[in-house]
Symmetry: C2
Subunit: 208 residues, 2 copies
């Protein structure tokens, strides 16, 4: 009851806000920031026109920031699931790339990374959106670096490897999308998995 009261009398149910964020995320993935309009979001979400400004008084930038954050949270959840299901960090990374490839293919190469297009369109001009995009990539790297450290890698190298993994995912998703083939993502995932396996094994070997 408190939640309802907080949105004011006659306001849309909380689900409307969430539906708008999810719709925006899909549109940002497919078309990017500049090509995503309020009208497009309202149509995609099937929400009342008036609710857009009610829920997002900060306009399109505020809505996009919430959508990027949701996209990033979903990526983190997927990454953590992959790491937990796998025996080694290398295998977890391979699985993460293969999930990304599967999702891209299932979307008929429309649903790429929920962050990359917005990041390239807006950084560094729109500092607010660039900050959310930057924090998203950092969030993934933090999860990866923690696992790499736990597997025995020194802190600095764990951070570098995590950055490399994210760069490989992002770059290979661009190529995959343009080519309409998941091959670049499979290749990048296998390369990163092998690099991680080798470095983890090397850190465990007795030093000379």
């Amino acid at each position: 009851m408190r939640k309802r009261a907080a949105s004011g009398p006659g306001s849309a149910p909380p689900a409307t806000r969430q539906r708008m964020i999810e719709a925006t995320m899909r549109l940002l993935q497919r078309d990017g920031y500049a090509a995503t309009s309020w009208r497009g979001v309202v149509e995609e979400a099937g929400t009342p026109w008036g609710s857009a400004y009610h829920h997002f008084p900060g306009g399109k930038e505020q809505l996009a920031a919430a959508a990027v954050q949701l996209g990033s949270d979903l990526v983190v959840a997927g990454l953590e699931q992959c790491l937990e299901q796998s025996q080694t960090v290398g295998d977890g990374v391979r699985l993460w790339f293969s999930m990304a490839a599967k999702n891209l293919k299932q979307s008929r190469y429309r649903g790429g990374c929920p962050i990359a297009t917005v990041a390239l369109e807006t950084a560094p001009q729109s500092t607010a959106l660039a900050a959310v995009c930057g924090a998203s990539f950092k969030q993934w790297e933090t999860v990866l670096a923690a696992r790499l450290r736990a597997a025995g890698l020194p802190g600095g190298r764990a951070v570098d490897l995590a950055t490399l993994v994210v760069a490989n995912l992002e770059g290979s998703l661009i190529l995959a999308r343009v080519r309409q083939s998941i091959e670049p993502v499979a290749l990048a995932g296998e390369t990163m998995g092998r690099l991680i396996d080798a470095e983890v094994a090397g850190s465990r070997a007795p030093s000379a």
Copy 2:
């Protein structure tokens, strides 16, 4: 005289067309496809308004395709220069990444890859633009793969490594742009250089 006659009497000099393409390339690098308008191009290029449709009757998509092609040609020229200046393919790739990082920093993190943003915004919906973007990445990979084969790698592996190098450049440029730091590009360049060095050395070692 023939050239002038071909554009018709009273038409803008050939330089106008080129200025428009160059201006569009800069705008696509900075803002992407959807955010680049005819008006913006005309202002950036300082060309007469009427010349836009005269030179590009196919509209914004035709102009963007020409700009992506110009961007790709410049990247290829840079890549070939880096490879020629270097003793090994690995060093050539390191130099290529460091040139890309330098250019990005000099543009104050506005001028990233001339292809990536357009590719993510338009693929696979706009097949014409997606095709030009795809052909651009392929063109870079072809140059790299030829050098890797010449250095002794088997054909299939040379193609895969070339794809990986381009994916690493593209992904690390996204992170660099959002972070306003060239570190991810330096890291990816060094990683790719080392991978290539190791595989080239391995292909030369006598097999067991």
